[in-house]
């Protein structure tokens, strides 16, 4: 049996079940709204989950030996990398695919085909792990760069009047150019 053909035939069933399970990792209210709202701008989490999982599934159908090349799977990981998931929680969705393929298409695929799919999913998992780490590292770089940009904000500067008091009554007014360094 041709793997590609079977996976393509089962695409709607597997993908819908997969999307439902992944959206189920959010709160009941979150899952409900993220599932029902179809406007991609009013529902960025739902949109990114849908688009990311679709891209991964289509990559699996097309070639079980090639990496996922699109942007959508990266976006999906990028979203989950900043939500309140542990790393394993953020990425464990990929392994659901193995179970879903068995459930929906197990009868039509032989052992070798299932093994081939499992290996593809494992490889994709590692790829998603790379994405996840890239996102976390990017996040820390963003944080670091912001601190550098905001270094002026991190101040414990004293008030000008105290500065003047400390210099005694002979000090120049605070607005003048020679009022001295920041207190």
């Amino acid at each position: 049996m041709n793997i590609e053909k079977v996976l393509d035939q089962k695409k709607t069933d597997i993908l819908n079940a997969w999307i439902k399970q992944v959206l189920g990792t959010y709160s009941a209210d979150g899952a409900r709204i993220f599932s029902n709202e179809r406007d991609r701008f009013a529902n960025p989490v739902g949109h990114n989950v849908r688009a990311g999982l679709t891209e991964i599934y289509e990559a699996l159908v097309a070639d079980q030996t090639a990496p996922v090349t699109g942007e959508a799977s990266f976006k999906l990981v990028q979203v989950r990398a900043v939500q309140e998931f542990s790393p394993s929680e953020a990425l464990s969705f990929i392994f659901l695919l193995k179970e879903l393929v068995r459930r929906e298409a197990g009868a039509e695929l032989d052992h070798a085909a299932l093994e081939r799919i499992d290996r593809a999913v494992d490889r994709m998992a590692l790829q998603l792990f790379d994405h996840y780490m890239a996102c976390r590292e990017r996040l820390f770089r963003v944080r670091l760069e912001e601190i550098e940009r905001n270094r002026f904000l991190v101040t414990d500067g004293g008030c000008p009047s105290r500065f003047l008091r400390n210099r005694g009554n002979t000090a120049t007014p605070a607005g003048s150019a020679d009022a001295g360094p920041d207190a």
């Binding site: 406007d39 009013a42 900043v82 464990s92 179970e99 963003v142 500065f163 150019a177």
Partner: protein, 548 residues
Amino acid sequence: MADTKVDVMKEKVVKEPSLMTGAVPTQDWMDVPVVFKPGNYCYPGKKSIMEYHCKQFPGLFGEPREWSPEDDDWKLPENWQEIILNGMRERLDKFRSFKIFMDCCVRCGACADKCHFFLGTGDPKNMPVLRAELMRSVYRGEFTKAGKLLGRMVGAREMTFEVLKEWFMYYYQCTECRRCSVFCPYGIDTAEITMMGRELLHLVGVNINWAMEPVANSNRTGNHMGLQPHTFKENIGYLCDDIEDITGIKIEPTFNRKGAEVLFITPSADVFADPGIYTAMGYLLLFEHIGLDYTWSTYASEGGNFGLFTNNQYMKKLNAKMYAEAKRLGVKWILGGECGHMWRVVHQYMDTMNGPADFLEVPKSPVTGTVFHNAASTKMVHISEFTADLIRHGKLKLDPSRNAHRKVTWHDSCNTSRGMGLLEEPRYVLRNVVPEFHEMPENTIRESTFCCGSGTALNTSEIMDLRMRGGLPRANAVRYVADRYGVNTLACVCAIDRATLTALMQYWNPDVEVCGLSELVGNALVMEGEKERETGLRFEELATGNEG
């Protein structure tokens, strides 16, 4: 074959109870406790800072102390519940809007999916209706007969430590952007509920440093960064040096000059922080271009007003400083720079707090003669209104091709768009100074604009993950125009936006830069006697073939 169940995942991947293993809270929201952990809360106010505030406003800021939200003991005053309830009673009497908002929600759900924090997290307590319910439940339980009698049956509860923790968590996961209020059939303003929540938390000494330190600095030295007058002046001097390098034009602005026609006030971030400084260079070029009789002030050296995110007393005091300085200098009116919440305060609260500013004149453009009747009471004109009027009257010589290296989209800042209706003026300016401008999707702009995710003093780096979640809806819309049109610049008129959107873009859309509108104006302005421009105001290369 059996369904894939979460227990399968539990065994194979995640050992501990977790969201993926079925630990999504299924109980009633009142029974889900708040858990503080690094990354989901802002650091509390420093003790020294809080000691300062307690001297300024005794009784409004609790007891200065070292504490952590992660601790079991927040070292609250013994009678903290009484303080909170008395504070609530006082505010219910004083602010009619607060009383109405506590009473009138029908839980229609129109707001539920409108909050950027909810859209980024899926956390039900980030639904505006539930965020308000955190306080409404206490209002019912403590102030209504039905609530006292029937308790939880009518959604009422007592003020407990768990409730206090919830308030601290979720009133600091609201940026007071007011997107939800646009969709509420009753016009309930969740921002004002959050403001009340924060005021009440302050009474028992529960606060965040990123709000309290800028407020202390503003109160003491005049601006968020605590910069002293000479430093403020020097930095504008450095910007003038850069302008001279880029354009060959030497600008010598004045400071604290009595008798100037106009006082110019902008957020201090425009003077000191990247990328705000390029916006400030734009202002300097614009005023030089039209020969405006204006002055900067080293006293009113901050447009921003973190008092708005703290309590009404500080908001009033910091706002008053701008008007006191206008009076002292004897100017005719005030021109305001690209700030967000400064305008919210001026437009919505100034008039009843410190106004009307009768000692000033109704603003009239000295170049075009236009009278800004919209500012008849506050006497303060937005730089975009002012610039749009100049362009409309053909008073600016502009070469938009100098911005040809930028494909721009426009972010409506919450405070200027929803807070004061400034929608068309910046777009008009933009269309005249850049060759290419693309709008984001309709449900993410204008009145429906998505917040940057880090307003109301949440622009602190310890909650970077949370900020990225909250900013996801905004970034998602930017991604769309970046992919579709090759947009590489996100322009706006808010200093907090310029800072926070920069971080947001670096995470979600690293190919998009953030800039202020006046920076683009400054790039496009053809100054008399200028040299050929080889770079933009941030010394970036111009598009190939551009003659400047």
